[in-house]
Amino acid sequence: MRIITVIAGAAFKESVRDRVPYSMVAFATLLIAASYLISQLTAGQDMKIIKDLGLAAISWFGLLIAVFIGIGLVSKEVERRSVFAVLSKPISRGQFVLGKYFGLVMTLVVNLAVMTLAFYAVLFYLDVTTNAYAKTAWPAPAMDPRLGLAVILTVAELMIVTAIALFFSTFSSPLLSALLTFGLWVTGHFNADLRNFEAVLDVRPLVWLARALYYVLPNLAPFNVRAEVVHGVDVSLSHVMLTLAYAAVYIAILLAGAIAIFRRRDFK
């Protein structure tokens, strides 16, 4: 555990010194701030638009950070040969992969925390500058704690995306890893359609294939509770717990796969 923590700390430090996440966080913060301006143009819908845009910005920019740093986590080390010196130290390849993963998760959590704080700052401003009568049109209070729940589920989703990027980066090039990760992220959001494939085409082999893909591909739709939260609809605790448990299992399987592949690799 100590070794994994040391490697995670170094991976976190590397991403902190990389300017890419900073620019993404800055851009997302600007977008959240800009949502306030956009909301001024839409009477009565301002709060919904700010929440929608804010949560979407957090999710999208988090996704960019997860994919673009995740795909380089291991492949960059191998390509630049920095892995030679690290793996000659008394660490296992599994510890190296896990350390890298948790380092990026730390980066994600810090970046998402900064974006969430900026988001809440805009909401707080709107809350104190809006009169009580206008507030009655809001479907939920400005500082709704359920927004935090949406962010937590976004973090869990991005942890899966990071594990996917890391998995691919243990054996393929950064470009291919990025394409495959984005591809899986997109299919992950439409995964439920595969479960009901027979409603579209009732050909047995295809239905079985669709069902198999449904279980193998990540199911990311349950992580998106933005619409419910924005409209003030409650998200059940059981949904949150089940979704988080699903994330934990899926991440564990991906990391086990990444470690198994990385263990067998030759570094020429």
Binding site: R2, I3, V6, I7, A10, K13, E14, R17, D18, R80, R81, S82, V83, F84, A85, V86, L87, S88, K89, P90, I91, S92, R264, D266, F267, K268
Partner: protein, 316 residues
């Protein structure tokens, strides 16, 4: 106990995209390196030196054969704790300073607190990295990165150290520094296994060498056993050599090569007494600048061994 042992160690790589076929980079290498010796692992480019070192560091898995370090299989974490490794043309995280990099590696060895701080400072001093230790590595020259590479290989005070081309990228002062460092390591009982194609370094440092060519071991043993050290002639450097003296000496010397500023190098065969030649040179008004005996060098042996291996391979 041998510090390093390999038994019939082979490594094949698959080459070709459509129809991959195995290419043998290392062919049944059997070696044994004693504890506390400086062992030179020599060979031309592509001989399989780095492949061997990577197999020993378990960066590559052997196709067949076995390797042990300090009596345990390679890759054993307790062995890695006692081993240092400098990769060829090393690359380290360039967003870190030398000090930060070594602190990171030190923590992987389980060092912490003041022990870590003093160890990092000492190895950086040992390799001659001064105030630059607080600069990020992206600002370092190739030679300085090489020194940092050496520092990280020595951080855990290893019992066995593997150095892949340690002199690469170093200036003459740096090379001298590293030579002294390797001798200091030997004096404290550390086994030094280094690959190189700079033979003069191997000649001045090693107790034993192994020569590899095309993945095969072509020679190994003590330098004193490999090299006959017999006299192979004399080398004279002279100035003010007249045409008449040159003509009179031509039949008795092996070669006469013009240098700059009117100087000549004259190679005299061993059966020819140099006194006679010196006497004649002085009589002709020439000035003798130097006189040295010629003995078989590691380079001669290397060229013969590698050349013979290439001939066997091509069948020519």
């Amino acid at each position: 106990m041998a510090a390093i042992e390999t038994e019939d160690l082979s490594k094949d790589f698959l080459v070709g995209f459509w129809r991959p076929r195995p290419y043998r980079a290392l062919d049944r290498l059997t070696l044994s390196v004693d504890e506390g010796e400086v062992f030179g692992f020599l060979g031309p480019n592509g001989a399989g030196k780095s492949t061997t070192l990577k197999v020993l560091m378990q960066l590559l898995y052997p196709t067949s054969g076995a390797a042990r370090i300090l009596g345990r299989p390679v890759g054993d974490l307790s062995v890695k704790q006692r081993v240092g490794f400098l990769p060829e043309n090393p690359y380290f995280y360039d967003h870190l300073t030398a000090e930060e990099l070594l602190r990171y590696f030190g923590r992987l060895f389980g060092l912490r607190g003041t022990d870590l701080t003093t160890r990092v400072a000492r190895v950086l001093d040992d390799v001659g990295i001064g105030a630059e230790r607080r600069l990020r590595l992206r600002q370092y020259s190739k030679g300085m990165v090489q020194r940092v590479g050496l520092a990280q290989a020595l951080l855990n005070e290893p019992d066995v150290v593997f150095l892949d081309e340690p002199m690469s990228g170093l200036d003459p002062l740096g090379r001298r520094h590293v030579r002294q460092l390797m001798l200091r390591l030997r004096d404290r009982g550390c086994t030094v296994f280094f690959s190189s194609h700079i033979l003069s370094d191997a000649e001045s440092l090693c107790s034993r060498v192994a020569i590899l060519a095309q993945g095969r071991l072509v020679a190994s043993g003590r330098l004193s056993d490999i090299l006959a050290f017999e006299l192979r002639g004399w080398e004279l450097v002279v100035a003010n050599l007249t045409d008449e003296t040159r003509r009179s000496l031509a039949a008795r010397v092996r070669s006469m090569t013009a240098l700059a500023h009117g100087r000549y190098t004259i190679e005299v065969p061993p059966e020819q007494a140099p006194d006679e030649i010196l006497h004649e040179l002085r009589r002709g008004g020439a000035q003798v600048v130097s006189l040295n005996p010629l003995r078989e060098t590691l380079e001669d042996y290397f060229v013969q061994s590698v050349g013979a291996a290439a001939t066997r391979q091509t069948g020519l």
